[in-house]
Symmetry: C2
Amino acid sequence: TGMSETFTERLRSLQRDKQTALCVGLDPDPERLPDPLSEMEPLEAAREFCLDIIEATAPFACAFKFNLAFFEALGDGGLRVLREVIGAVPENALTIGDAKRGDIGNSARFYARALFDDLSVDACTVAPYMGRDAVTPFLQRRGTAAFVLARTSNPGADDLQTCTIDGEALYQRVGRLTREWASETPADAGLVVGATRPDAVARLRELCPALPFLIPGVGAQGGSLKSCLELGTTGEGTVIINSSRSIIYASEEGDYAEASAQEAERLQQEMKYYLAE
Amino acid sequence: TGMSETFTERLRSLQRDKQTALCVGLDPDPERLPDPLSEMEPLEAAREFCLDIIEATAPFACAFKFNLAFFEALGDGGLRVLREVIGAVPENALTIGDAKRGDIGNSARFYARALFDDLSVDACTVAPYMGRDAVTPFLQRRGTAAFVLARTSNPGADDLQTCTIDGEALYQRVGRLTREWASETPADAGLVVGATRPDAVARLRELCPALPFLIPGVGAQGGSLKSCLELGTTGEGTVIINSSRSIIYASEEGDYAEASAQEAERLQQEMKYYLAE
């Protein structure tokens, strides 16, 4: 897996080769699995579902994002299934553990170990509220990355993220701090910026010209693909555009894998078009 | 377990009966386990260690806090061990899953399910950065509680938490928002305030007279027990004072359980003295 390259270098070369910025988000909700899987034992159904979606959509994706909430909620064996499906992602796609962890240094080191050493993800997501020593333990392995939550796509995001501090929004301060932490650690840092916030994509790109952005919220949450790509990919900037529900739940029937591939290909073609512009 | 009572009512009556505000924090670090356990298989060693500490310290504690980082880092079976040791906590002590989760509503509901339904904790910790819809899914079960991170005890806490917004610190805004969310949901909400920040304990107690505070950082982190109790327990206010390392690693030898009980009893006696004042 080319550990001498940085995460961002691997991402750039994958995006160039496969002509895609698409990340497929795997959130296996037991109540939304397609009909043919609904009679299976929950762990086995989640496993089968993820393996099928990964195989079908891999040609169109540069990354897969795994939301740990859904695997933890499966109870015993949930993390074993997660490790197995992460292992099934082909070499030409990166893996992101969407864990949003954030704890003091000692605990953060253990969370980082669980993600990078036990689950073997290439990147993870991290929460910034506790500051530097809660984030930098996730930035110690060259070749990997941690994406720090900056501006999220959910309704409650305005409760804190847009509060003004010394003339800038809290999320901008998070961007500047992340840039600083990234410059002092062996791994790459990136930012999570919701697709429903194109203004934040633009402002954070100005502040952090070289950091990769992980952009969720295209698809079910309604964010615009075009503006995220245009605003996020200036200069050295790369973006990873995540779509979860619109891809993985594209069909409730036996054709769910084909349907997910169709939706992933549709998004990839749209991205290719805008990226070429 | 008296589900008709609220979490805070149960906490108050336990604290009165047992004359203690002590919470024992279980962070089983495989590299710090006592010598007699060091030859055992890691999962079994963590299990044995936690069960011994719980049994030895339960008479002096109103709660046990389990840091999920350490159990997740154990790999397969880590959460099974966690569920088992949570189940071993006697009826007259509450259990807190220290998970610091924070994600959009749909994911938050799955994290809440993993904590309250699968692990069966009485309370958990939650990160506020994503706002209302990331926190309120943890406040849906009457009899339980979610403690929202407000002012933490770690060095990086100042990166964001003390930033000034409209004349108040960010952590004070978190306190006010939490009070608001608590008033609209069936469960109880509380705040996490580090013992190394007595000024924040005082300010948050003014803003939130009735919310329970979970106060880590006494012991290894150096916070003052006396000032936290004095400042935190005015009016209706209750506090839970957590100590992890100073109790669970009180001895590296075969007497670790007795040593942890001694340290827990010492803290309980100190608390009893200050609470009686």
